[in-house]
């Protein structure tokens, strides 16, 4: 019945068949979008959800420029991940907080971050608040909308999630940490605004998705960061499990 051989393009090593990709390129260390990148970039999503893409990018850019100013370093620093803010000294954090207060942007940023700090009190961005924030009334409402936001981020290629990643890449451009050659898809970065409606925007999006990985290399990312782990485990403390056929109590 069966004549066609299977796994023909695999490489046999003893009793293991290696897929061509692994065999040719060697083992790769995967950085998980969900496990690591999502909790690190969720702050961008919160600001963009609160203020829309255009004003969101403007606030995020201000925050970043000020963070770089408050924490000068020989190596180019990009404050794209939540963990990168934990690398700042207390003085640098105070400088950033007062700088944002002076520009009148602190309150706006705090407003967007409130659910994050309320639900995740050990968040490295907690220093932006002088006092622990509270959520006025229905915790459930805020939790529900935070869950919806996080749920949307699982789809790495959705428009909203693409805008989050594009903003992170933009911060790399803005800091001078990323330069691209003319002719590369990423050189047409502004086209991402049209995503997913044009072919070029889709190409730019693919490049952005690939570029986001750079924030998680040893050069930019504190490998000892425990934020993603805290973020996910904290989820069990703030909300219970739900199953499809479960009746809401």
């Amino acid at each position: 019945m069966t004549t066609k051989k299977i796994l023909q393009d695999y490489k046999r090593q003893g009793k293991t068949f290696l897929p061509p990709f692994t065999h040719m390129l060697g083992p790769l260390h995967e950085i998980s979008w969900v496990k690591t990148m999502l909790p690190e970039l969720v702050w961008i999503a919160l600001i963009q959800e609160h203020y829309g893409h255009s004003k969101g990018v403007s606030l995020i850019t201000s925050l970043n420029r000020l963070a770089r100013k408050c924490a000068p370093s020989e190596k180019i620093r990009i404050f794209a991940t939540i963990s990168s803010f934990r690398e700042m000294t207390t003085d640098e954090q105070l400088c950033l907080q007062s700088g944002l207060a002076a520009s009148g942007e602190l309150f706006e940023i705090q407003k967007a971050f409130t659910p994050l700090i309320v639900f995740y009190p050990e968040c490295p961005l907690r220093f932006l608040f002088s006092a622990t924030p509270t959520l006025a009334d229905a915790n459930n409402k805020h939790l529900k909308s935070f869950k919806t936001l996080v749920a949307g981020l699982y789809d790495k290629a959705s428009r909203n999630t693409m805008m989050v990643q594009a903003t992170a890449v933009w911060l790399a451009f803005d800091s001078g940490g990323l330069k691209v050659f003319k002719g590369l898809a990423l050189a047409s970065f502004p086209e991402i605004e049209k995503y997913p409606n044009t072919k070029l925007s889709q190409e730019v999006a693919a490049s952005i998705r690939a570029s986001v990985q750079m924030f998680f290399t040893e050069h930019h990312y504190p490998v000892t960061s425990n934020w993603p782990r805290y973020f996910w485990n904290r989820g069990f403390e703030i909300d219970r499990c739900y199953f499809k056929d479960m009746v809401d109590e």
Binding site: M1, T2, V34, K35, F146, K147, T148, V150, A151, Y154, W232, G235, F236, I238, D239, R240, C241, Y242, F243, K244
Partner: protein, 272 residues
Amino acid sequence: MSEESDFREVEQLIKSFIEEARLELRQRWEKWTIDLSQNEIHEVVGALLARQLTLARQMAQCPPIWNGHIAPIILRAMADVFISLAWVLKNPLDRSRKFVLYGLGQAVLQLEHRKSQIADREPTAEEKMLIEASKAWINSQRFSFLTEVNVGSWSGITTRQMAEEAGCVDFYNYVYNPFSACAHSMWHHVARYNLRQCANPLHQYHQVPEDPDLSIDPHNFYLAAKYLEKTFHAFDETFSIKVDVPSAYDHLCEGLDRLSARNTEQETGGSD
């Protein structure tokens, strides 16, 4: 299978299947010319045929296990019996002996383990009896001190190679291998049957353990009957045996078709 009458009909199908399958085995044994100079062949082949019938019968008698949790364990054991038998049938004398010697070696190994477990104390009367009975069973066939212990596979090759040599590699690929996942509780079985996804995005859509109730699927009974039929057929072909009793498998198929047609008719509101 919601109607009382359906249950009664299935009960009747099970009863007939068992009676007819037993009759089939008996007639095959009666029609097979026994040559005691090569008794190993008759005992090994006969035992494997009977084992297959036992497995099929046990499946038939236990509708609550006709589900993805348990049925594949039985079906995988049946696939094992079929491949072993098919491989033995390609060289019956040599391979039957191999099968017996390997089994005796395993029995010696078990006996030695048991003896070592109680080496530093006096065995109880019950343990003594068990050890003696086990020794006697081995010695009645071959002196235990002459029996080799082989810790590899009984055939000296893998089950896949046995299937290839016996011309049933498709059966290995599509039956033995898939059912192994359940029999050995491997990830691709337990993840599907014993985990349930939590819909909370804050929990990373993790999966939590569960022991789900599964509905009864008569297809598992059908498969057991089919593998029994396949085993009988391999035997008949090798030894040119032709039985004249009704086929338990054919009857079961007719019965299941009848049930299925009636249920379809009821679902679609067909004429009465």
